[in-house]
Symmetry: C2
Subunit: 586 residues, 2 copies
């Protein structure tokens, strides 16, 4: 061992002992006849002192140390005269007796500090140096701890982790698969799993009863900032359960993680909201419930006053921004520009101000009397000093726009503290989505999701209204995970396929082996999957998942550090019986 202590563990009580440390030179500075070196390892930073008077040769050696040199220091722990109470080792320093340079370092391309001078591109190219920064290291430590606690909770609950295969079969539905040519079976390909969905259902058929896996999944999608071609799921499934059992079990898991990782105790049950209410009050299926500001529908109050815009609108919705009546014209213009951006697409923004003096001002005062606007305000539970913001148009579209506006106002008002956590179950999702283009229903979740038993009789008569036994766990407006109770009855599954426009032959071709398995005694079962990267990023208080992944890929799916993907030899292509087709770039 090159050390007997780490750079994070020495305290005042260790003063007087002789120690050997190993680590990296964070910085070195000369002051008078002394040279001070901050030594860093995973566990912390410790100050080392070289005294020119007692050992000039040693001090000279220390003076030549560069940033990020790897050194080994032996010396005595001493109390510091000027203590640094910001770090746990700040009361002591090491009076060096011996210095060994274990390895030298070129000058790193950016500073290894939380507040680095390195841009995103260079940090990704030198990710191994970026990972030295304490902020990134803490994210990965958090990730490890969360994975460990997830396993501890699920193990205690009788779940067993089963590894499902990575080289599987390409499925013709859903997002694009990554495929892997098979050398031993020329012309054939494996696919990398988008999720272990079918395998976990097979494990239920096998009687495994309670399964989980923290597992890499793959999706060949065009990447957005917060998507990665490979990502990690916490995949879970249980037999002989109903929706309530699944919600209880995994609410327990989330509470366990918050308790043991963040020291936050959720003593109350997580609120539950139907999908219909989530859309009605928040305009999306993953509402950020850290703050209220619910939608208020005021269409009925706005008609017949000669304002065609509102008279013609299918939907008129308002939100009340507390204490924002003092917003200036400029601020209101900014908000109007915000909702008119193409990504949001509103035609305009209406507002009503309840001034502190009791008066009312509004962008629509031409059409509505103060009396009438006061009725709007009452419905919105607005008080003096509040600002009401109003959007109108086609119902679902306007709700989406109002959702964005609500989030924007939440951010402006500081209501979205990343260290405050609001968890929520959204339930009663629709089973089907109607697609205008192809004029048919698609499964909103997947074709194995069970309808809500109360809606069985609507399957034929009011297909679009049938609710699924599906649920999502939402934290701070992010979908942390979701799942469903699965269909285990062959007749019901057949009916689902028919409703989805799949013939028996289609269904057999696409889902044959799962359907075959279901003939041999499939138990009632259900489960869910959490996005682990997202889960970690939320607990780390980060917007992006990239900094909770050790070696992420960029938006072109490229690892710029190792420069992958890359070309392969002709010999490799030959072995795989493949040829490249030239691509004409347009």
């Amino acid at each position: 061992m090159f050390r007997d202590k780490t750079c994070g563990e020495l305290r005042l009580s260790d003063a007087g002992t002789s120690v050997t440390l190993a680590g990296w030179v964070q910085r070195a500075r000369k002051m008078g006849g002394m040279t001070f070196v901050d030594m860093r390892d995973r566990y912390g930073v410790t100050q080392v002192v070289f005294n020119n008077e007692t050992d000039a040769a040693l001090c000279e050696m220390a003076n030549k140390l560069g940033r990020e040199f790897v050194i080994q220091v032996t010396g005595d722990v001493a109390e510091r005269s000027s203590k640094n109470m910001n770090i746990p080792t700040g009361e002591i320093e090491i009076i060096a007796r011996k210095l060994v340079i274990l390895n030298r370092s070129d000058v790193p391309p950016f500073t290894i500090e939380d507040d680095t001078d390195g841009g995103d591109d260079i940090r990704m190219k030198y990710r191994y140096l970026d990972l030295r920064r304490p902020a990134i290291r803490r994210n990965l430590e958090l990730r490890h701890k969360m994975a460990f606690e997830i396993r501890r909770y699920l193990d205690e609950k009788g779940f067993i982790e089963v590894e499902t295969p990575v080289l599987i079969k390409s499925t013709p539905e859903g997002a694009r698969d990554f495929v892997v040519p098979s050398r031993m079976n020329p012309g054939e390909f494996y696919a990398l799993p988008q999720s272990p969905q079918t395998f976990k259902q097979l494990l239920m058929v096998s009687g495994f009863d309670r399964y989980f896996q923290i597992v890499k999944c793959f999706r060949d999608e065009d990447l957005r900032a917060d998507r990665q071609p490979e990502f990690t799921q916490i995949d879970c499934e249980m037999s002989f359960v109903e929706q309530e059992d699944v919600l209880q079990m995994f609410e327990g898991l989330v509470k366990h993680i918050f308790r043991y990782v963040k020291d936050i105790d959720f003593t109350e049950a997580f609120p539950r909201m139907t999908w219909a209410d989530a859309m009605k009050y928040y305009g999306c299926d993953k509402p950020d419930t850290r703050f209220e500001m619910k939608f208020v529908e005021i269409k009925d109050l706005t008609v017949g006053k000669g304002f065609a815009v509102l008279d013609d609108a299918e939907y008129v919705g308002a939100i009340c921004a507390k204490g924002c009546a003092d917003y200036t014209r400029k601020q209101l213009d900014q908000l109007t520009d915000f909702v008119k951006r193409p990504q949001i697409g509103a035609k305009g923004l209406m507002w009503v101000k309840l001034e502190q003096d009791g008066s009312i001002k509004s962008s629509v005062s031409k059409f509505y009397s103060e009396e009438e606007l006061r009725v709007w305000a009452d419905r919105c539970q607005a008080e003096a000093g509040d600002l009401i913001l109003i959007l109108c148009g086609e119902t679902m579209k306007t709700r989406k726009q109002l959702c964005e506006l609500r989030l924007e106002m939440g951010s402006r008002l500081g209501l979205r503290d990343p260290q405050k956590f609001s968890c929520l179950w959204v339930v009663d999702f629709p089973l089907f989505e109607w697609d205008e283009e192809t004029q048919r229903f698609y499964a909103m979740h997947h074709p194995f999701t069970s309808p809500n038993p109360e809606d069985f009789d609507k399957l034929d008569t009011a297909t679009g209204e049938v609710r699924a036994t599906a649920y999502d766990m939402i934290v701070n407006g992010n979908e942390l995970g979701g799942g469903s109770i699965r269909i285990h009855d062959a007749a019901l599954q057949d009916k689902m396929f028919r409703l989805l426009g799949l013939s028996e032959a289609d269904a057999q071709y696409k889902f044959g082996f799962l359907m075959d398995a279901f003939k041999y005694g499939a138990p009632p079962h259900g489960g869910l999957a959490f996005g682990f990267d997202r889960f970690v990023s939320i607990l780390a208080g980060l917007d992006s998942i990239r900094d909770v992944i050790a070696f992420p890929k960029n938006n072109s799916g490229r690892d710029v550090m190792i420069d992958a993907p890359s070309t392969i030899d002709q010999a490799q292509l030959d072995e795989l019986a493949l040829a490249l087709v030239p691509v004409t770039k347009e």
Copy 2:
């Protein structure tokens, strides 16, 4: 919840309580006016009784249950009149009051029992039914428990689990990579990792200090019975360590697993053996040390007696099979046939019997006197009743043959009990292997393995004799894992590349980004990786790894259950800018 108890937990103390169970029909039988149903779930089997006299309709329903039907039963726990003490629930039965058929089952293609009537092929095709057999289920439960305990130990020791990428870069050395065409980067490919070797070394450069990962790895090799294209490694790396630190840490891990999973306490340190001794005494680098029967070299005793075979042999080695002097001619012929099989390739087998009456018999008594043979026997520490078996020829070849013979004798003598565990470190591997064909040295482990510091001066003068700082953990003749201390010094690494015949340009091309990383302060580091599938199979007492993997592939790399690999659409090929090349089968 469809149940309030499992089929494994009810005991005599529960008698009189009302319970609801859910599970599969293991078997049903009528006896007199009663119908007995054995209900099975993951946790056990419980007997359910239907009484024709008290509820004829219910009993009639039970009589129609088929094997593997999924049922829910409500009834009262009662003491059995004829107890079955072989199972934990054998003292009770459930007097059924209610029966719900949750799902029906076709007749399964083989019996769901440890001693099944299903052959390998059909069981693999219906792996989801095969997994219902308790023997297989227990293997996967063992696997889960081992993974959990591995994580618990390593977490306690300060290791953090970091997920390394699955979509990486193809490396032109070693076994074949599986590759993944990149749609976003036409003509380029990712590779699936054969191990996270480079990433774990990068994590050490990043200062992670103690890393581990239980991780899927991939190798596109022609498969043997005991190889899988995807397999799982326990991958570990530590910084600021020497070989001794690594051995201590992971000996601790193995002992922890045996203690908490098998309830076996290894109180002594695991023995260590040099590679040279392993070859000398056991003829291989992974000796099965559950039994002695070490090789004895007797060349010096055999020369000059006119027996050209031994006179000309480079090596003459013997093993002593205790108590086998009574082997018949037929048995000795069998052994001779065994060593002459092409896979082993010996030219013949010589033997010396020390009869119980003190006399000596031998296949070479024509050339050697009883006196002379007695000297051989003394060196072999053979006693009356023992059989000495002798092979001769070129040293390394003969040792391999003698190794096979020793294992065969161990098996015949019952010395290889799968429930007895003998662990061993093999150390001091050679750093290089000489390849006759290409007339150059290859790295025995990999080119980053550090030479033994004691042998630094031999690097140029006696390259072939340089020992590596590499080590293997052997259990019962299986390589459980292995690793090395890595080179962290750029100059030494350069020297290694030169000795391996790699130019600077070659080295940069093949290992560029790792070499680049090493310029920025690489700490001394080392580690190892265990084969997790093998580890589980050894603790399960199994020869093959296949039954500790939930969904294994066959020897053609095919998953016969899901029928993968398979063809993909032309549209998919087009998107990937790939064309299939017709393969002419010979």
